[in-house]
């Protein structure tokens, strides 16, 4: 168990290689309950890989990752159980194409016996209401716009009642006019106290809701701090260089 109950995510000396390519070189970080951590950095810097190591979609090569006090790098940890408490939202939505919105949301909690069919349904309808898609319960993913798909994907993750949410460039695949509706849902989630790690290029979102911004490059954390510190007064030349390109 972690010494501090407030610590939700604790990463120590994480390294990850794909074959001979070392993608994460030595990552350590902590995220406490209710924090919204925004990860920025150039493409290929290892942001997605870091996020995917947290729920072990990628296996860490070395180092330790504690989630909710469970060591997910330990073979004896039931990773499926830990994942039930970590929602993940993907760049390309990954809605289950063969199922309608309601089924997309209720499949996992019902199969894993977290909720009865009826409760899962009721909860799904409440969540759809919250993301503004009550009328889409019976729709199939192919009938939704990108922004709608991503809101459903967020609702699907929330249906499991997670206490951590991971977002990997949730708005990067969206048409510009749909970015706002997805960010709005995420902002509300942040205000409600969800612990979040968000990879994004939306600097405005980071300014508004991040408790901390982490800048990554080449598999290292280069700089981290409050949005003001990192975005407005960056110290590291590489951060300055990166921000000058995206701002």
């Amino acid at each position: 168990m972690a010494d501090n109950k407030d610590v939700k995510i604790s990463v120590k000396n994480l390294k990850k290689s794909f074959g001979t390519l070392e993608v994460l070189k030595d990552i350590s970080l902590e995220v406490t309950e209710g924090e919204v951590v925004v990860l920025i950095g150039p493409s290929g810097s290892g942001k997605s890989t870091l996020l995917r190591c947290l729920n072990q979609l990628e296996k860490a090569t070395s180092g330790q990752i504690m989630i909710d006090g469970f060591d997910v790098t330990d073979k004896h940890t039931d990773i499926n159980k830990v994942r039930e408490n970590i929602g993940m939202v993907f760049q390309h939505f990954n809605l289950f194409n063969h199922l309608n919105v309601l089924k997309n949301m209720t499949l996992a909690p019902v199969h894993l016996k977290r909720l009865s069919k009826e409760d899962a349904r009721d909860k799904a309808m409440q969540l759809l209401e919250r993301v503004g898609l009550s009328d889409k319960a019976q729709a199939y993913p192919s009938q939704l716009s990108g922004g709608q798909k991503q809101r459903v994907a967020i609702a699907r993750a929330l249906e499991m009642n997670p206490d951590i949410m991971l977002f990997d460039e949730p708005t990067s695949a969206l048409d510009p006019e749909m970015v706002g509706e997805v960010l709005a849902v995420m902002k509300e989630l942040a205000r409600d106290g969800m612990t979040m790690m968000v990879v994004t290029h939306e600097i405005g979102f980071a300014r508004e809701v991040a408790s901390r911004v982490i800048f990554m490059e080449g598999g290292y954390i280069i700089e981290e701090g409050t949005p003001e510190e990192v975005l407005d007064h960056p110290k590291e030349p590489r951060t300055i260089d990166f921000l000058s390109k995206v701002l």
């Binding site: 729920n55 979609l57 499926n80 159980k81 994942r83 039930e84 970590i86 929602g87 993940m88 993907f90 390309h92 990954n94 809605l95 289950f96 194409n97 063969h98 499949l107 996992a108 199969h111 894993l112 199939y140 994907a153 699907r156 993750a157 499991m160």
Partner: protein, 222 residues
């Protein structure tokens, strides 16, 4: 022609029945074999991958006729030489095994390709919600894969139906074998083989029509 139909009509229909029986049994087993080896091939266990690949390559690399001879003559001979002198295998059993193994290897490839055609993100989304690999396969990946697999499966079923004729060589009284008998009795080469050919054609046409209908229904009901 009429004479042949009058004299050999029941015999031909019975032979058709045998052909269908052999085909049906083989398709059932082949589907099971295909599922098992196909799933072995897409998983991440090296040993299972290896076994799956060896099976598919071995069976596809041996002509069906040789496989049939091997199972019908070779295996019993081998078992008898081990001292089980009473061991026998009839032509239907041997034929079903040979055809199931053969069709199963192709089905395994269809299953593998079908599963690999489903975007990796589907499984990842399932796993990220806490589903096991097996549950992700069963509830998310396979249902989507089946849709893309159906045309190839139908095609394979038709090939297998036609391949039953190869098993005439081990003496199973299916349609082609009976065709040979009729030809031997009547010496009416043209008529006998025309009738047999037309019978295959009718059954295969019906099979394709039924399959097309099933395919349409599955594509619609989603």
């Amino acid at each position: 022609m009429v004479m042949i139909i009058q004299t050999y009509g029941t015999m031909l229909l019975k032979a058709m029945g045998h052909t269908l029986l052999l085909c049906l049994l083989s398709l059932v087993f082949a589907t099971i074999i295909g599922m098992i080896f196909g799933l072995m091939n897409v998983g991440h266990n090296r040993l299972l991958n290896f076994i799956g690949t060896v099976y598919v390559d071995a069976v596809r690399g041996v002509p069906l006729i040789v496989l049939a001879y091997f199972i019908y003559f070779g295996i019993p001979a081998g078992i008898q030489s081990l001292g089980f002198t009473g061991f026998k295998m009839d032509a239907l059993q041997a034929g079903t095994i040979a055809l199931s193994m053969n069709c199963g290897a192709y089905m395994a490839e269809i299953v593998r390709a079908g599963i690999q055609s489903v975007d990796r993100g589907q499984m990842e989304a399932g796993r990220s919600l806490g589903l096991s690999y097996g549950a992700g396969m069963a509830l998310i990946v396979v249902p989507q894969a089946v849709r893309t697999m159906i045309p190839s499966i139908i095609n394979q079923f038709i090939i297998t139906l036609k391949d039953t004729s190869i098993l005439s060589v081990i003496g199973f009284p299916e349609l082609t074998n009976v065709g040979k008998t009729i030809m031997g009795n009547t010496f009416k080469n043209l008529q006998a083989w025309a009738i047999v050919g037309i019978m295959y054609l009718i059954v295969i046409t019906l099979l394709s029509k039924v399959s097309k209908r099933i395919e349409r229904r599955i594509n619609r009901g989603r």
